[in-house]
Symmetry: D3
Subunit: 336 residues, 6 copies
Amino acid sequence: MKKVITFGEIMGRLSPAGYGRITQAQSLNITYGGGEANVAGGLAHIGIPAEHVTCFPNNELGKAATGYYRQVGVDMSHTAYKEGRLGLYFVEFGAAMRPSKVTYDRADSAFANLNPADFNWKEIFKDAGWFHWTGITPAISEAATVALTAALKEAKAQGLTISADVNYRKNLWQYGKSVKEVMPALIAQCDIIVCGKADAEDILDIVPSGSHKSGWHDICAQIMARFPNLKKIINTKRGQISASQNTLSATSFDGSKVIKSDTVEISQIVDRIGGGDAFMAGYIYGNLVYGDEAKSLAFAVAASALKHTIEGDINLSNIDEIETVMGGDITGRLKR
Amino acid sequence: MKKVITFGEIMGRLSPAGYGRITQAQSLNITYGGGEANVAGGLAHIGIPAEHVTCFPNNELGKAATGYYRQVGVDMSHTAYKEGRLGLYFVEFGAAMRPSKVTYDRADSAFANLNPADFNWKEIFKDAGWFHWTGITPAISEAATVALTAALKEAKAQGLTISADVNYRKNLWQYGKSVKEVMPALIAQCDIIVCGKADAEDILDIVPSGSHKSGWHDICAQIMARFPNLKKIINTKRGQISASQNTLSATSFDGSKVIKSDTVEISQIVDRIGGGDAFMAGYIYGNLVYGDEAKSLAFAVAASALKHTIEGDINLSNIDEIETVMGGDITGRLKR
Amino acid sequence: MKKVITFGEIMGRLSPAGYGRITQAQSLNITYGGGEANVAGGLAHIGIPAEHVTCFPNNELGKAATGYYRQVGVDMSHTAYKEGRLGLYFVEFGAAMRPSKVTYDRADSAFANLNPADFNWKEIFKDAGWFHWTGITPAISEAATVALTAALKEAKAQGLTISADVNYRKNLWQYGKSVKEVMPALIAQCDIIVCGKADAEDILDIVPSGSHKSGWHDICAQIMARFPNLKKIINTKRGQISASQNTLSATSFDGSKVIKSDTVEISQIVDRIGGGDAFMAGYIYGNLVYGDEAKSLAFAVAASALKHTIEGDINLSNIDEIETVMGGDITGRLKR
Amino acid sequence: MKKVITFGEIMGRLSPAGYGRITQAQSLNITYGGGEANVAGGLAHIGIPAEHVTCFPNNELGKAATGYYRQVGVDMSHTAYKEGRLGLYFVEFGAAMRPSKVTYDRADSAFANLNPADFNWKEIFKDAGWFHWTGITPAISEAATVALTAALKEAKAQGLTISADVNYRKNLWQYGKSVKEVMPALIAQCDIIVCGKADAEDILDIVPSGSHKSGWHDICAQIMARFPNLKKIINTKRGQISASQNTLSATSFDGSKVIKSDTVEISQIVDRIGGGDAFMAGYIYGNLVYGDEAKSLAFAVAASALKHTIEGDINLSNIDEIETVMGGDITGRLKR
Amino acid sequence: MKKVITFGEIMGRLSPAGYGRITQAQSLNITYGGGEANVAGGLAHIGIPAEHVTCFPNNELGKAATGYYRQVGVDMSHTAYKEGRLGLYFVEFGAAMRPSKVTYDRADSAFANLNPADFNWKEIFKDAGWFHWTGITPAISEAATVALTAALKEAKAQGLTISADVNYRKNLWQYGKSVKEVMPALIAQCDIIVCGKADAEDILDIVPSGSHKSGWHDICAQIMARFPNLKKIINTKRGQISASQNTLSATSFDGSKVIKSDTVEISQIVDRIGGGDAFMAGYIYGNLVYGDEAKSLAFAVAASALKHTIEGDINLSNIDEIETVMGGDITGRLKR
Amino acid sequence: MKKVITFGEIMGRLSPAGYGRITQAQSLNITYGGGEANVAGGLAHIGIPAEHVTCFPNNELGKAATGYYRQVGVDMSHTAYKEGRLGLYFVEFGAAMRPSKVTYDRADSAFANLNPADFNWKEIFKDAGWFHWTGITPAISEAATVALTAALKEAKAQGLTISADVNYRKNLWQYGKSVKEVMPALIAQCDIIVCGKADAEDILDIVPSGSHKSGWHDICAQIMARFPNLKKIINTKRGQISASQNTLSATSFDGSKVIKSDTVEISQIVDRIGGGDAFMAGYIYGNLVYGDEAKSLAFAVAASALKHTIEGDINLSNIDEIETVMGGDITGRLKR
């Protein structure tokens, strides 16, 4: 099977044990995560060859992060190393009505200061069939946008399927260009995007035209009209009961109709960070293995739900577990 | 803003990790707590100047406890140190139908044996506007009662607002005097008390007169008649679904009418010890900042609910978190 | 009171902290467990004299396991030690829709290779009144079956009450004999068995005769007809809402009528391993202390439910906790 | 082999991990220890039947401590349980020039308030051949002294060998009697005592007469003259290089000559608490198994040295390890 | 006693447990440290009133760091909070021939971007008698240098004793000015400096003139000639046997003669970070309490040596422990 | 650079934290190790492309072990997975005179039962230049020997350098063949062996002929005479001061002369397991990078010494650290 390639920043993630606050913590657990690398991690874990391309500082933390993704089987062989720091984020886990809280300390990382010439995309994409990126990467720095643009050009040239989670984060985008200047040209290269209502407005200035009720079908139609290369627009929906309990579902629009997945309830959340990335990995898996949109969505929602029960950013759920949930069984019966 | 002063014993709190029992434990987590100091801690954490007055043994544990409250910003500068031991309590955390369990080992502590002359209340109350105590202090020892009596006299003289959680604990009161002999004279100094139905009977021999239905309005009226200095009687109500799930609400009586807060559901309890103290801190905050009884109650209930998601005795919830819950939002949506 | 004797293998149990997966773990918690020893542990913990008979490897792990059961008061004085290994099992704890997962590594253990001559049953049963075994033991090896057969013969001779959890595990039974060849002769010695519908078919080829609706009464009647020594057939029922939430109930058939317990909800599962063994310990306790079948069932279900809130295989719930739940109170109100 | 009986208080021992100070600690490790029980623990661990007699509070901590000693095989079947608290001590581990530090919180424990009538010494000593006590017990309380006196009387009557570590702790002895009033009558019952130069002066007012050089032989002669029942006086010597490095040796006086052990160097101390108790257990083992004074001393010193490498109060060194060191090999060669 | 004021950056310190490498770590312990704040911490811990002035990001980590120093009693009441990040450093602990390793991630911190106008030095120095700074602060940023310059001017005006550890770190000094441009004017304000041979050359271009043997006396004379305000030049010397074993000594030059301390051996290093800061705190303590240079040096070396046995940056050794080592006793005898 | 290939069993390694004994442990740290894989791990860590070939059970533990070696960069792409168990070993860490202790539970592992046909050596060796094995592999089972024999044949055919650590473990070799029957034919294929005096006798029946003094030169000459393909015989020497302190050195014989390394002292041992494997990795590195025998030996001894300060089986020392020690500097000076 051809490789899935992802590109983006990986950060160190530091969090107190249990439900502790940072002001109380005497130790912090360390794992590593990034929205794109988590997709590669989720895929590699269930047997899809996947490579993540990134830039790390050439220090202990960069080496530790490399090893972390290598451990789940992600090919890290085109990692660039340079002077600088590893971006960090701090997570406090909430419960009941107390939200989990993410504090970023990612400015001026080695990735933000990457040298686009360090990535030989022609060689990177040699055995690849799919390229996935997110809207976080062009938000980080000019250099990251340059590298991503080059990647997209080469991926297109080699005929890869291109997907993106457009994911607008307004706290990023500090380097002088706005999301609306940068993103449209990048989205134009894509076959598949994950995009919500707010993203459509924030990134593309697209709002539902007056007459439509919920408006989503209409928004999708406008997006597709603007980006003729696009084949699918995916939307995920989270029902927020409490910090400990959520529901998940998703829809896919193919230019004419909307397919909707079942809603899965997550009755006890262990760690929701990376839930969206697990969805994406599941959706790519579905495309590569099932080639059926409804099954792909169902697998993706099940994978995302299970991620909420896994510690760390990467979905370490196994195929059989995902397929059980995909089949509607959320009873979690003991396995011996 | 003028300081809030609290006075009472602080104990070491030892508990197994997770849901372990003490008979299984190879290590115990240590924090420090006391019903009055927790109020000062909760206030200091949200920016209200607060000082706690206590007596510690002059050993490592006394120093550790001093540092613990100092860390959240409580002024500990009038702490008395003397020979003796730190009172301790052991907590096992329950789940589902298994209750959490508190075992006290507090007898003969440095606090119980305090020297009332060690506290110069005139100086302690110099920049203060509020004094808070609880019914635990006069239950501990004659010496504690003498010190508290002196404190109340001076607080009254200096015109401070005086509040108390009357909190009858029948396992204490071992030093020869009964709660009914001691408490009425102390309550007589108060402007505000937290008092439940059982407390009213156990401490004041007040029961609802026959004709009244729920009886609470009637009990309050009797209490106020007896203590003309009293301006508010607060009552909190806990709905006990399981060790993992509770509901909270509160009422306030001002001599004529009862104001009732909304009921907040706590769907996953992390640590309920100190929930009542968090309520009191929230209520004092409301009085000092909002000056509106309904808002004060709502803030207090929200603060108390959030405390149930925090590890340790002190409510480390932030203002924005409390205000979100106070506004009715208990969905715990992730914050980035 | 006369001793309860149990006989069977004890394994080391290794599990990641929290909800971690084994592939992520840098440390594993170690406890020890076995379906029969857990019954002895649960009984000893609530004051019933209990002895467990087993065979351990004469190494550090065998000694550690001996100490583990000794710590809760189980008499381990007839433990045989020989060359070999301790059987192990690895547990990952699930949440919500993710199941807990048990991986066994128990082949060729010191227990499987035990020497039946090492157990002097005459002496072991000297002060005993009850003998309990499970269907796991004869599934392990020929040697284990020989030892169990000898034990049953002597227990019968000395007039002990004999109980068994017939517990068919199809992954065991690798030594050349089938469950249907071996078990009937062993069940024939019993006074009381725990047996489910599937067990009846898998072990005894008994299925409900056509006309009966739910069929359970009919299955029981067939079993009793075949094993005239049997006085009670117990069945437990687990309602599987999620990996975090279950319900429990049980029935008892005495040859004529079925008694049914109330259903207890477990709203937050901490560790469900050993829940069935806690039931059995509770049922034996009920028989010895109450001598009333309905109360015995209620106590057993309550004990089993509480076990789900306890870390480790052995039920460390106290009598007062079990009796509270048995009385219908699952509110888990804090105890001071 | 006849049992060794020990009698004395067991406390909970709480210590920060590593070299942490209590003022820094967020968790404390808990084990249990007592100077006499540690002797029983060390003996039981190497196969000598041993029982410890004590009084515990009937709460979770008392049960936990019972289980802790039961785990190493100490018979705890004559434990008395009563209202009260478990004595505690807090240990900070030092390194290099920083001493380890022990803080006691043992006043008013269940043991100190024991009821002497709870101990039926006649029955306790039934299968026993040796009774060991320490000077800590009569220092605790009048009640403890009464119980010990009764024990000694019965032990003498039944012809047991009686040993004591006279161990003067000046911070104890708070109950109104002095060590010099109480101890001589108790020492008079002994066959063997461990006693140092300072103990001889503090307890017995015995100092070397002027003409003798080192004085030890002379002190021993005076002690023996005063207590004609005494057969051996043992003295241990610790060379204090640093908190991380010590040396150990011992002497035995039998009325005429002093036998001296080799000096063993402990090059890396893990935990020295209980080192003296490990010596005593080793010496009793030597008496029971070797019956040779020089070998008993060598075994005792080796056992004590090894205890310094073991975490917790009880010496968990194995026979083969002790015999290797006793044979002069302290190279610690890896065992596979 | 008048307060000691320190000024400088505090960073978060993250390190694996034990001797783990960062590439292996699943959790990192978190403490907080800074070369100047550690001096305040060491002083506050032994009873000298001390305040640290710094700038923190107004996030969870800034609050945690504030609490950390508040816990040991440092006055943090003039802390400035602003947007930005907390500087971090990562520590791996070495052993034997493997060095400990510090990796900095401190660029662009809230402190580096501080606003000099946020510090009202007139008010800060109101009750102060001593001001201490280090060469790290002017190396961080222009803004930090401006703030420090203002502080020194005001300290001088108010007649405080001024000390500095000149501490040249060549990896800092990235903001466009060189150490040689900036430091001399700052040193000129000082009464006391800690300065080594390499510092003298790197910062001041001072090397020993040819004829002098060891040269140190001569270097000091040159420094004093250049900075007539200087009263003392202190030098510390570390003997590096291994990562686990060091020796320490120090000298003081007063313009005419060199006083030399004894050399203290540290036979087992627990954590050497902050050893120099502990020296400085000890030296200031000596000046304030003893007023004797030789005793001040001895106290400072003892304090520094003991810091090597303490976990974390701040010296938590107690007065009695320091005085014992100062008196030449490094045997670390157990304290009960 | 061409790859180094290693082949052999990897086991799970379980050990208590600190210096705990297994009988005390409530949790065990888990890492993974094997004498051959550790060589690949040590090489990959310092940049030499390395692949390990093994057979794992297809369960959670097999996957965890795969990830563990993948994390340090070992290519695991030819791992065979089959039914079965992962071999385990348990380690207790000793200190001072108490030895570390290894207990194996490795019988009947998936590796022992491997299918030789699962390894396509032609493809495995495609980009390889070196093959390393140890005497442990042929000791495990007939199947392992068959696979190794095939590997050696193909490695020889492809012209790889072949090295072996002959490493006789008498507790293995249980499958019916003796070391003397099996090993000579395997050694005959080697270019380089690590072999000690005892190995020479146990495996090859070679003892020094009478006239030679130390005998080692003579033994080597006999070995070389018997195996004409051999180019180097390496011997390592451990000086055993205590469990906490060792010395290391090595010699190399090339048919005519013996080269001897310096002796390196390890003053504080953290974890000595894998020390020999780190030596081998260092020696291979030296051959590939330096091509100088004396430097290779020095690098190997330095690498092995540093491994003793690293937690886990794999040497995670960095090149610069090894080269510093190789250059004679064991002072472990702090790196910033």
